[in-house]
Amino acid sequence: MTSTFRELWLFFRRDLSIARTYRTAFLFEAIEALFGVAMFFYVARFVDSPQLQHELPQGGSYFAFSLIGFVFLDYLNAAMDTFDRSLEEARDSGTLEHLLVTQTSLPVILAGSAIYPFAATTLRIAVYIAWGAVLFGFPLRDANWLAVAAVLLATLLAFSGLGILSASYLLLFKRGNPAKWFLLGVSSVAGGMLFPVSVLPDWLQLVARLNPVTYALDAMRAALLGGAHLHAVLRPLLVLLFFSAVLLPLSMAVFAWALRRTKTTGTLMHR
């Protein structure tokens, strides 16, 4: 176990060292985040009304509701994208073969390559929320940070499975991320990102109830805006953990099979 953590740390340090060579990137991302938050603030000011606030689950401002939906989409995007992007970069730079001839196991290589992108996305989200809190009055007073962390972790695990399935698809077919297109497409309409699912027709509400993103967002808003304790978000957490328990082993098995297939067909390094 110690050896595994050491190896995971090596991947994190590798990616951190690479990121440090792009010195201005973080600064520009922080500025970009400021403009993004400002946009949501002014859209919210334009559409906000007492009736709209009444419709929102936590009864707060539309600015807080939509900003959480937006940054959560960023997180979801990272979970879905990280594995196949790491794989694609390793393949294109030629490092994939050299990673695969080391004594480090495939699950560790995959997990290790995802740590930094997840950490960077978490930091980016924190910057968004910080801009919102400092400049635009995003309400953080009531947040229950323990519940927020638990929801983030459960979300990460649940969607990492889908991300690894996407990476398996990339290994076999070289381009495309159908799981991401499908989930982000469905979630943008039936996930409660920018509007509550209660405004959807009945059949789309049913779709939303089958979508793990809906549970994750409900729990996140409850923890961040409503100050919900862990026990209050237990149900969505259990749903997310159920998705993780099914998807993670399944995705690792599919990835191992896809890798074996590419070793059979000789297409591991093909683009």
Binding site: H98, T104, T265
Partner: protein, 317 residues
């Protein structure tokens, strides 16, 4: 302790196959099995191969374009790349794979490096099966693909070597010591603290070889190691390989090359491969004697009936 030794081809070194628990993870030999059964240790020759290839076959699925390419991962492999090749490489020996483009040299090396699965047959490194026991195989080998790709371009040479060394289970201290030693041997001192993207192809090649050797593998697999080097850098690389890697007789070398001068300089034996078949595996003298040729180029032509891709290079250098 058994004193088990034999003389290698070319009389390059006398290797003692004494059991070294810190490095050896070889399958138990007959001698050790006899010892463990309570008998006295017996001294006799145990020429266990460092690399053993038995009737290896590899078929690939046919290349497809358009929408049919979607089905390629599931197509039945039917294109022959290797058609039942068998040979052994003894510990400390240097064996060259010589063949035209598409002969199957890289495919064979990639099977041994556990990057490809054979369709049939068996490949072993230091007694470990390349398919069933791939992790143990990777512990024994260093792999260098002969291109200047394969590094993190924005990391320094030292950061790259440290990363791959640690992934090969070396401690931080051991990696630091190996980097210092290899940098000295490979004249990489200046490259260590520069980003890889700023290094010349020749330096990156040496860095790549240093990476392949960082965990002190018993077996070194090189796929056209001088492919992207100019004539001077290639000559320097060969001299280095000869004087620093092969001289000690500690490392077994299997390499693929088109450069005849490279093969003549480095190889104890030469395996001539054509269209996935092994035509001959012998020393340079043996090949010349068998074909009646006066040069490796002529011997290759005689065996295959075709000119090697780099037919002129050996003569030119």
């Amino acid at each position: 302790m058994n004193s088990l030794g034999y003389i290698l081809p070319g009389n390059r070194s006398l290797r003692h196959a004494e059991h070294d628990p810190s490095r050896s993870t070889q399958a138990p030999s007959l001698a050790s099995r006899l010892s463990s059964s309570g008998r006295h240790a017996i001294s006799f020759l145990v020429p266990e191969a460092a690399i053993s290839v038995e009737a290896i076959e590899k078929f690939f699925p046919p290349a497809r374009s358009g929408w049919r390419a979607l089905l390629q991962p599931f197509e039945k492999p039917s294109v022959v790349a290797l058609a039942g090749i068998s040979f052994e490489v003894r510990p400390g020996e240097a064996l060259a794979l010589l063949g035209a483009n598409g002969a199957g040299k890289s495919t064979l090396l990639r099977i041994l490096a556990t990057l490809l699965l054979p369709t049939g047959g068996r490949a072993q490194i230091a007694g470990h099966d390349a398919v069933r026991d791939s992790r143990a195989v990777r512990r024994q080998l260093g792999y260098h693909a002969g291109s200047d790709l394969g590094f993190y371009a924005r990391l320094t040479g030292r950061e790259n070597l440290r990363f791959f060394g640690r992934l090969n289970q070396l401690s931080a201290g051991a990696v630091a010591r190996r980097i210092t030693l290899l940098a000295e041997q490979f004249h990489l001192e200046e490259a260590l603290d520069r980003q890889v993207r700023t290094l010349s192809s020749g330096t990156v090649q040496r860095l790549s070889l240093a990476r392949a050797l960082i965990h002190q593998p018993r077996v070194l697999l090189l796929d056209e190691p001088t492919r992207s080097l100019d004539a001077i850098a290639a000559a320097e690389f060969r001299r280095f390989l000869k004087s620093e890697i092969l001289r000690g007789g500690e490392t077994t070398l299997l390499f693929a090359s088109h450069a005849l001068s490279e093969i003549e300089l480095l190889a104890d034996r030469i395996a001539v491969i054509d269209a996935g078949r092994l035509l001959a595996c012998d020393s340079l003298g043996g090949l010349k004697q068998r074909t009646g040729a006066t040069s490796l180029e002529d011997a290759f032509l005689c065996l295959t009936g075709r000119a090697p891709y780099f037919a002129g290079e050996g003569a030119a250098e």
